[in-house]
């Protein structure tokens, strides 16, 4: 394909402030792409900024705050799409192909941070860049091709309408490259159709899925980013120390009683575990009791029930990611990506589907179409319930859609991505669609008032995730699940239905995830002690980095994203779950537990603990100061404070 815009980005001089040598682990350049003008350039970033922002969501949050003002909504050309790695990407620590996407997303029209893996991060770093920052919008469909110093915007007209796997197949064939030699992250028909929960999918099964980042890419008419594995050198400041830290992390993952299940089976144990705790969402939160024997849903059976092989990300030693071949049913012989727990949930249990073969197929169909599997699950489950109750008719849909009907769900995908009939409304996401239909249909929908949706769990038995989802500045979890909580002074366990204790736990854990998502490393290989991650970062960069500094960094990033959220109109008034999301489970282990009754005091506790103003939602001046962000306090509260 001819290049529309070819550039060997000029390597600008380092700024005067950057007299200090570049830390190890960094490529040292940010790649800027303006799709309106076709201009491509690189800019250095200073060692001081590297220390303050690290990479990933830390870097992205700063760019979003500085460069996306209030009037630049998700679909404005000047919205930024930040595709960032981090200092560990490309280095020999497990799972270092990490990509963090930061943008103002289509779901909430607010800030987004969403991660994927594969090889993107490594390939980009080896080409000489720490991040790609896309602005502007193209008039014609293009894709970005990066091969060391040659960066091109190329005609993507032949890719339009192709799904994400087809797009990668076609580009791989064009360049004669396969496997990790070419990392391709693209949007499918969903992103092209500006579906508000469109995702960016890459390297056959890795998805930056949250908050409609794929719609942002579609609005810019950027079909794909294709990065050849570059040839630039990438060095750690202390190679021996890095290898030692990587070995310690690997040892921890192999031997820690909890992480070991992740090491062997990835997230497959989730279905059985979460069902036992009442956290498996079945049929759109209408039950928590499986109607079928869960034997085939054990981790080992989920893996060995398919022909499978490992599909590891960059430098990874986990037995996590796999490819599968469907063994039975109408799609027998089809190659698919082994679903994560989220896939088994969103493409399965949430919609009442209990055949692993069918669910696995639908999960990959969603990846190929470029849809977030979580929001699709909530949307499809809601439609199925509405059909059952007569709130949506067969005539409106054009076909019948009953609980567990995977083939029908696939028809719904087509309806949505092409915005046909009712699909035009459903493409706006579950919150907007439910609000449009109004009660009683609206009362059945699972969403947050911000416009985001939960991940694939029943949060009525997992209160910490509901609180985190709703108070987050990323549109999805900002704090995440407890990982070695005692390392940061949080109790190993709290009563899951004590709202105050849960809120204190969520507040106490804040910071870790923001730190992890800035490193350029997979979230699953960071299931180790923070001290190990800090040691790896220190060995990579040459910095002395402490656990306290990591937590402070993550919380500072959270405060910046909170400021972005407020600017986007996402205020404390939106921090509530929908009626169904906060309903009382009617059966299962959490039967009768009511989060709604405790929601107010949970918010009060959380705000007090994190140091944000309860009324305005702003991080308090003292909080900003403690986090090393006095500049943010001045901007939020004025200089007189």
């Amino acid at each position: 394909m001819p290049a529309l815009s070819t550039s060997t980005p000029s390597r600008a001089k380092r700024p005067a402030s950057a007299a200090a040598p570049r830390p190890g682990g960094y490529a040292g350049q940010l790649l800027r792409v303006n799709l309106t003008t076709g201009k491509i350039w690189s800019e250095p970033w200073s060692p001081e900024d590297m220390r303050e922002l690290i990479g990933g969501v830390g870097l992205g949050a700063r760019i979003l705050y500085r460069e996306v003002p209030v009037h630049v909504h998700w679909d404005h050309p000047e919205n930024r799409l930040v595709l960032a790695t981090g200092p560990l990407a490309g280095l020999p620590v497990w799972g270092t192909g990490g990509l963090t996407v930061v943008t103002r997303g289509a779901g909430t029209d607010g800030p987004t941070s969403t991660q994927a893996n594969g090889f993107f991060g490594a390939n980009l770093k080896y080409s000489g860049y720490d991040a790609v920052i896309v602005q502007g919008a193209s008039r014609k469909w293009v894709y970005l091709h990066i091969h060391d110093d040659v960066v091109e915007l190329r005609d993507a007209s032949h890719l339009v309408g192709k799904d994400t796997w087809q797009t990668q197949d076609l580009l791989s064939a064009e360049y004669g490259l396969s496997g990790h030699q070419l990392s391709v992250y693209s949007i499918g028909p969903a992103g092209e159709g500006l579906v508000r929960f469109a995702a960016i999918q890459g390297d056959y099964g890795h998805v930056a899925s949250k908050n409609g980042c794929g719609a942002v890419m579609g609005k810019k008419k950027l079909k794909a980013v294709a990065i050849v594995r570059g040839t630039h050198g990438l060095a750690a400041a202390d190679p021996r120390g890095l290898v030692q830290a990587a070995d310690d992390i690997g040892h921890d993952l192999r031997t820690d009683p909890t992480a070991r299940s992740l090491y062997e089976y990835g997230t497959l144990p989730g279905v059985v575990n979460l069902h036992k705790l009442g956290m498996l969402p079945i049929k759109n939160y209408t039950t928590n009791v499986s109607p079928v024997d869960l034997g085939p849903w054990e981790a080992r059976q989920l893996r060995e029930g398919f022909d499978h092989r490992g599909h590891q990300c960059n430098a990874c030693g986990m037995h996590h990611c796999h490819m599968q071949v469907i063994r039975s049913g109408p799609h027998k012989g089809t190659l698919v990506d082994e679903p994560e727990y989220e896939g088994w949930s969103g493409a399965g249990w949430t919609i009442g589907a209990t055949d692993p073969q069918a669910v696995s197929w639908l999960n990959t169909e969603l990846d190929r179409a470029g849809l977030d599997v979580n929001e699709f699950g909530w949307l499809c489950g809601w439609v199925m319930e509405c059909v059952e109750k007569g709130y949506i008719t067969r005539a409106q849909l054009g076909f019948d859609l009953r609980w567990g009907d995977v083939e029908g769900a696939r028809k719904l995908v087509d309806l949505i991505v092409h915005r046909r009939g009712l699909g035009a409304l459903l493409a706006e996401g579950v919150k907007r669609a439910a609000e449009k239909l109004g009660p009683p249909a609206q009362d059945c929908a699972v969403y947050t008032l911000k416009g985001a949706v939960p991940r694939g769990h029943d949060h009525r038995a997992r209160w910490h995730e509901m609180l985190d989802t709703i108070t987050s500045g990323t549109s999805t979890l900002e704090t995440g699940n407890p990982v070695h909580p005692t390392e940061v002074g949080v109790p190993a366990r709290v009563d899951p239905f004590d709202g105050v204790a849960v809120a204190k736990m969520v507040a106490g854990l804040r910071g870790r995830l923001g730190f992890e998502d800035s490193l350029g490393i997979c979230i699953f290989t960071t299931r180790t002690r923070l001290e190990n991650l800090c040691r790896a970062l220190g060995a990579a960069t040459g910095w002395s980095y402490t656990v306290d500094e990591a937590i402070r960094f993550g919380r500072r990033t959270g405060a910046i994203l909170r400021a972005c959220s407020l600017r986007c109109g996402i205020t404390p008034a939106t921090e509530y779950p929908s009626t169904r999301y906060a309903s009382i489970p009617v059966d299962g282990p959490a039967k009768g537990q009511s989060i709604a009754e405790q929601w107010g005091k949970m918010l009060d506790t959380w705000y007090a603990e994190v140091g944000y103003d309860r009324k305005t939602g702003k991080p308090l001046p003292a909080t900003c100061k403690a986090l090393g962000a006095e500049w943010l306090a001045k901007e939020l509260w004025g200089r007189s404070r």
Partner: protein, 98 residues
């Protein structure tokens, strides 16, 4: 005298001689005054890997969730709660992923 059923679920079966799937059932005899703690200690004494995963000193560590009669420990029961014949315990691996 009587017994308490202890269900070891899925991944945790690895620590009691299983393959990490399915479930293993134990009928633990109890005497008057038996508590959640004494039953768990009785079982984990026989399985060192379970002991290492279950306890952090005298308290439960972060790796295994304990359910008493289908409710997470801490809601209606503590480690010191008495158990009666016919009560049920379940040991479930903490889940970091997903």
């Amino acid at each position: 005298m009587g017994t308490v059923a202890v269900e070891v679920v899925s991944w945790v079966t690895k620590f009691v001689g299983g393959d990490g799937s399915g479930r293993k059932m134990f009928e633990e005899p109890i005497v008057p005054g038996a508590t959640v703690r004494s039953v768990l200690e009785g079982l984990s004494t026989r399985y060192p890997e379970l002991h290492a995963a279950l306890w952090e000193g005298r308290e439960l560590g972060e790796h295994i969730e304990v359910l008493v009669n289908d409710a997470v420990l801490g809601i209606a029961h503590t480690l010191e709660s008495p158990l009666r014949p016919g009560d049920r315990l379940a040991l479930l691996g903490q889940f970091m992923g997903g």
